[in-house]
Subunit: 347 residues, 4 copies
Amino acid sequence: MTLSDENLNIAVIGYGYWGPNLVRNFAELDGARMHSVADLDETALEKVSRRYPTVQTTTDALALIHHPDIHAVAIATPVSTHFDLAMAALKAGKHVWLEKPMAETAEQARALVAEADARGLILHVDHTFLYTGPVQKMRELVQTSALGDPLYYDSTRVNLGLFQRDVNVISDLAVHDFSILDYVFDMQPTAVSASGINHYPGTPENLAFITLFYETGFIAHVNVSWLAPVKVRKILIGGTEKMITFDELEPSEKLKIYDKGVSFTDDPEQIHEMRVGYRVGDMWAPKVANIEALRNGTEHFRDCILTGKKSISDGRFGLRMVEAIEAATHSMQSRGATVQLPSYEDA
Amino acid sequence: MTLSDENLNIAVIGYGYWGPNLVRNFAELDGARMHSVADLDETALEKVSRRYPTVQTTTDALALIHHPDIHAVAIATPVSTHFDLAMAALKAGKHVWLEKPMAETAEQARALVAEADARGLILHVDHTFLYTGPVQKMRELVQTSALGDPLYYDSTRVNLGLFQRDVNVISDLAVHDFSILDYVFDMQPTAVSASGINHYPGTPENLAFITLFYETGFIAHVNVSWLAPVKVRKILIGGTEKMITFDELEPSEKLKIYDKGVSFTDDPEQIHEMRVGYRVGDMWAPKVANIEALRNGTEHFRDCILTGKKSISDGRFGLRMVEAIEAATHSMQSRGATVQLPSYEDA
Amino acid sequence: MTLSDENLNIAVIGYGYWGPNLVRNFAELDGARMHSVADLDETALEKVSRRYPTVQTTTDALALIHHPDIHAVAIATPVSTHFDLAMAALKAGKHVWLEKPMAETAEQARALVAEADARGLILHVDHTFLYTGPVQKMRELVQTSALGDPLYYDSTRVNLGLFQRDVNVISDLAVHDFSILDYVFDMQPTAVSASGINHYPGTPENLAFITLFYETGFIAHVNVSWLAPVKVRKILIGGTEKMITFDELEPSEKLKIYDKGVSFTDDPEQIHEMRVGYRVGDMWAPKVANIEALRNGTEHFRDCILTGKKSISDGRFGLRMVEAIEAATHSMQSRGATVQLPSYEDA
Amino acid sequence: MTLSDENLNIAVIGYGYWGPNLVRNFAELDGARMHSVADLDETALEKVSRRYPTVQTTTDALALIHHPDIHAVAIATPVSTHFDLAMAALKAGKHVWLEKPMAETAEQARALVAEADARGLILHVDHTFLYTGPVQKMRELVQTSALGDPLYYDSTRVNLGLFQRDVNVISDLAVHDFSILDYVFDMQPTAVSASGINHYPGTPENLAFITLFYETGFIAHVNVSWLAPVKVRKILIGGTEKMITFDELEPSEKLKIYDKGVSFTDDPEQIHEMRVGYRVGDMWAPKVANIEALRNGTEHFRDCILTGKKSISDGRFGLRMVEAIEAATHSMQSRGATVQLPSYEDA
């Protein structure tokens, strides 16, 4: 199977909530061909056929995984099935696109990373926020030191949301912040303390408050809930030079950069008095690219396959996310007890 | 010293940031007389004389505490001086109004409570929020069960604020939420987990995230910071029947009550599927009394002295606040480790 | 042609900006069948065929108008073609759905009304806002006298919008307010004063300010623009008992009802001093039905055809809108000079 | 009377709503001395004495006007008394500060201007907005051509406001916009069309909509009301290069500058199609000076007296405002009929 002159043939497994977005984007992707869709639900497959008459459909995901014409498989099924399907696809020599979180456990995630490495296949995890204009702008502001030294990240991500059956609110919502933090700051947390609760016995935790600690003194906090009367999607970032607010729900200026900060007198004679100076300057809302994240993501996935370069949100990235979810959940279940996170030499 | 026919004579110690508000309110309080003000700063005292020619001034707080005409002493000095001044005033037989937090340590607070009890004196701690219209309305909604079973309290209280020298951001800002929680819900937290940081070595912690755990499954979270680019003062409260938002900075409708919630099917056959129903109804913003909190507070203090009834924010209330600050600070300094709170039989 | 047992066959002429919404809604409408679509653009017709394989397509609108199986024709073409197409359809005995404004001139509109009347056909003009939850709620508040006596209506409807080639901003945007006013208050303005400008020579007016006068002393004002840096869609309504704000862009509470007002002392002795009392009470945001307006509208059109009842936005309603546009445009072109509006006995 | 070495002695007539602000600012003004206050109400004068023991008080305004030690008189009385008091002060050789509007009629205003000119005295009208940071920033953006060619000004200034007895809402609120327009754009309107109403017979008009026309094609619109359920203070300004929003009630970023606009193809072949291009770029909220307008204004008044330079809001400026109020009121009373404004050669 070579990809020289022909199109990249893509199969999508799972046509529930997110699958249709994948199919639409892969169908519109230059240099790729939406080849087939698998789902256990015949009604879902009928929808596919009606909308995309040339796309093949099947209820047998494995048949599709082993189909010789297919080069890449995108998996948008419940988390509990991610490992088996992704492992089968990798073993069948397919590049894999996996919805987040990539697996139920870090152990599973590590096995997938190893398998993809061994076979030289692309393993891409769909941490969508990395492919949005505002997050890329934030990364630019941090990486060019415009922000100064990073001081804190503080996110509120709450609404009256669909309670999940198989994953808690950390895995559903806080993972977005974990991915933004990793990508924007290029730093790994060393420890986590989380608290949260499931208000309805037998269901996963529906609200959680997570603090991530970093070696530099940078600190991150994430507040997530499925039980808020209003929808909030707000991030505050503080640096020594600038501060940022990102409000996803703001119709026009989502990203605002404040020339505000605090400066301390180092004068030892004044140390007793702790003189603090405030700096208040202009605010600036840059125009930010407004392309659909999934379009950027699918193009990136295609480019990685064609050129062999590593995906920004590759298996290792996805693994770090699963480890953060695991650690935060563990801390939450012991009422905030500090849980250490693994260190990464190559992060 | 009797208070039958004459006015209640009030002395204020400390004419810095908050003292002028106390003097103004006591000066306007029916049935009371602003008798004298003490401050170490002569310039401050000159301001008093110019504005209130009949009020006596002195740099000697103790002289004032022992003045035979004075019935009550209000203390608005730095926290580190609260204990000595308040204890001296109680021992001199004066009723005491203390700014928050009432003392540096729970031990000190307990000693003040004991002294006031032994002498039958009013010890009132100025937890101002209890005396505002919106907080009283919230208490009413909770105590009349309009809210249903309380599920959570989630507060964000951040801004680019004055860094304090002697107290951390928990003692400065989170204490407001501790007091609102105690008053509105009439429940005591059993444990606390907090995280936070001082970004500038040698200064107190300037941001903190605190979770309070309660026996009933109710959970409270408080996010406080002196280092945010924008000012936020928002509280979300969730109950099984209603949800509330309180935005202190909203010009008109600060308090909103949502007829929103979640209902679960108890049908055992559906337990596997976890069917959740959402209820979305009207929103209602009640007209809320807009009297200055300090006016309500000083009237309450006067009435307690005249009738002997307990202050809503009496020494015991203030003690619980100090204990919460201590426990939260302790947890914060061990990165979120759960700290148990004392239990109160008579709370 | 009877409609007893069979489906109502609908044809849509024009598949540009709005046509696809009509086709989608008629396709989903119970008791109706999307029969055929006409457009001059073959590419547009191909889109129809791909999405609705059973719908017939043609570039010949007249052939479709005369097709014996078709009962009703919906016209979504440029305004300049409305009259000819609608007149042909009525003469062919078809019920007609016309996009707004129904015609270029009041004369044309009157001729269409007469033709529909003479033939007993339904002539429905798509003034969409009448079929939205918030506007229906406003009508209810006015018609049940909850608002008290209506005092004023004040609307701002501006954005950086697509400049139209064939119609000015009054015809494009202010017409929405004219229709809401007519429907909600059931009153006809007696005169209009408007001002506005075309900033780019040779183009229609791109901003306009229109005042409508009513016999009762009620007054309405509409501010429309295609040249504003931010999008605004806000209506204020004042009554003697209540006041209303409607903000279409607000994510959750679009409609707010204020228990606010002004009361005057009638005491003749005080007439010199003009004592005004303010009433400030609760605010209330009712839950409002969130069904797509076009769904409500197409159901209403079907019901009118089947039962013979008059459409809420029938030809006479559409005629009044065209007359208001004409009068406002006329006043605008003479810098605000008052223009009288025709009176309606049966309005 | 010379002002060489001594202080400028100021008298204030009228200690009602605005007078206390004048007295406070003149009392704090370097190089000036708050000399005396006149008011008919003895209680008001007692307040003055208590707060400013060195300031003389009197119920006799004329005695004060003729007092030989007084160099300048500030008049903050009802509009109906402005002319007599100001004329008397000028005739007594005093510099005059007049609250807005400077007189009831343009004729009176012209007489005051002539008198001040003849005597070489400063006649300053308190159009406060000219002395605020945001308005000065707007002027800078317009005068440096950063805005490009000015296209429109659109202001909404409404609230549930105190009904005035002696002046209508144009004189009370729209005059602020007239003054901002004059100062920021340095252009005079040539005509005005206004509409409005008094909802309560026997009272002045309580809402009004005013359009000002300019020779260049620039157009201005002002919407003012004392009868709105919410307070709004918003100005939109459009230019060919930039657009501006000014929201006085926004807590932090009041002034926002948008790099947004419209560009037309001039290609004659495309004139039929009217191709419009939209430009959407960054938004920028400059830090704006936050000094009290009255402080700036009183300093400017003092400097004008000491140096002989013309006040920015001198008698001629104030006269133009009165003429605009007169013309707008006249148009309003004939339901929008265009009223021409006088032309100014030296404007």
